[in-house]
Symmetry: C3
Subunit: 242 residues, 3 copies
């Protein structure tokens, strides 16, 4: 299975062109748009979301990961195998949280140069063909490197800010819920939010936090938009009282 994580968004011709590569080269390998609208250019937010949302995939999954504001510059193309799963994309810190939390990591710098390599769309021209090869059981077309040589920004273990606002207006953060007690409060935009296990446990219109289905702290309103009511957006900081 190939799972796509990218900030390309769901509109336009970008996802489709990567799917066309997969359809041409390995039509029997299933492909899912796992998180196709990560916050644009935001490698740091994407690194935490990638870690949380890829851990629920089968251990044989290959993740094609493209949040790549430096495309066309000197950043290296890499592939990483962490606890079984493969990650293919740019060496810009995008995989650093996955690597930090993994027990077993192997890394490669991709050395294959495709016949056609556009300046701006390495997702289609370089990373997708490598991902489909790996997902089909081929060796990674690169040189092994020490994982310690990859770009590893000094980001915190838990990122206490809003990383994504979903369709309902719920605000996903970069804090793993297992690091908080259930009586902890989350303060965001001047509002203190208590823990609720489910939406049904919250009063109507009450802002609360809960452990989302991927293990992250998420701020929500029961049947309303937390983002709109509280003024939340990607980057809004949260405070934790443990």
């Amino acid at each position: 299975m190939i799972a796509i994580f990218t900030d390309f968004g769901i509109q336009g011709p970008y996802l489709g062109q990567m799917h066309a590569v997969f359809a041409a080269e390995a039509p029997a390998v299933p492909v899912v748009n796992l998180f196709p609208d990560l916050p644009p250019f935001n490698v740091r937010a994407a690194a935490y979301l990638l870690s949380a949302y890829s851990q629920y995939l089968p251990e044989t999954a290959t993740c094609l990961c493209v949040v790549d504001p430096g495309v066309g510059s000197a950043r290296r193309p890499i592939a990483v195998q962490a606890d079984g799963r493969w990650y293919v994309g740019p060496d810009n810190g995008l995989f650093s949280i996955v690597i930090r939390r993994a027990c077993q990591v192997d890394a490669w710098v991709i050395t294959r140069v495709p016949e056609r390599l556009s300046a701006s769309f390495h997702g289609r021209d370089l990373f997708a063909p490598v991902a489909v090869g790996i997902a089909s059981g081929e060796d990674c077309p690169g040189e092994p490197v020490e994982a310690g040589t990859l770009v590893a920004p000094s980001w915190p273990d838990e990122l206490a800010e809003v990383l994504y606002v979903d369709h309902y207006g719920n605000a996903v953060t970069g804090v793993r819920a297992q690091t908080l007690e259930r009586d902890a409060e989350v303060e965001v935009a001047g509002r203190r939010c208590a823990f609720r296990r489910t939406f049904a446990e919250a009063e109507s219109g009450e802002a609360f936090w809960y452990q989302n289905a991927n293990g992250l702290v998420e701020v929500a309103l029961n049947q309303g938009s937390a983002a709109q009511q509280l003024g939340l957006a990607v980057g809004t900081p949260i405070q934790l009282s443990r």
Copy 2:
């Protein structure tokens, strides 16, 4: 074939995570996002849309249906087979219009408890695995119940309001066009709309109603946005003069 009906929307990681379940468990079963952006939390609107849009699927289709504001509360997970097609989702009235219009209905309460069951994402953790099993020819993992014991709200046979506004600004209603004469008028937002068979038959800028490709009354403008011009939104009532 698995067809997804949900209010999860097309953004974010929700559809993708359900597709990942299908890809892992039955990669050869095709999956289509049939109606992925039903109006949020609106079980009533979804019930009419589900009936209209699932009847065009092959009779062997399995519909995974998740509009589930009560997720995590006591509402039951169910599976229904109606005129051949399967429907898997919450027992909150979502299937009630399908059932009312079907000739042959069988129902089950799902009793399987998955190993991993998040409080907020039963679409991924419970309903998707059940749907993929049924689509693969397995028995429904539950207990048969009388269809009459399922939640059955006293909703009208034709729902005279706007249920969905599409990409072009056309307004889909819950009234089946076959219940209207062709000289009937639809009044909406103070505007009387006559019947036109096709967009091409309407004057430029004229608001009209037509029978959409799934049999519902739809209010439209020729090459313009009816929603914007007439101020229509989900929930806007319509009046019929037969």
Copy 3:
């Protein structure tokens, strides 16, 4: 492989219903949403985008193309094979740029009348079944015609305007970059933009033009929205100084 080009947009039940046709009739043929949100009703813009974005598909691809404001009127349904690839859709000029640029063209008027033909959704009822037949190796169900008899508007070879604004705010135009020297400037909304090979070569906040991954002139800002900063939209004209 079937590649979908349409202005149906990514929301709602339209793409899904076409996918359901493919899933029912040829579940093993991969289908990609290549460009699902072409500018609504804009056949001219779509014709240039179709040419640019289909040329990167394998030569065995079948393109299902639906930008069809005249659906239900007398316009003919056609299929065209141009340099190997198939194009199925309405005879309204949508294929005229593909044809103009192709070395080898064959054309058919589709004569099959499907059992169920709605007035407004020929994409699902007529074009999708024809496309899936062709993609499965069947003959085109129609009569051969001279390509010269198809609708061929007198549009320019390069269309000097914005045809699409993407997720990042980049503005795709209808001018092929190979027709410009690298020291040419693109003037748009009163702003003169120089050529940059990559985003990384541009100053922060600088508006520039580059050759996008499909060979078109695209106006962009490094890590910002050109559309928002410069006020660009579909139809905004550009001027070229060669």
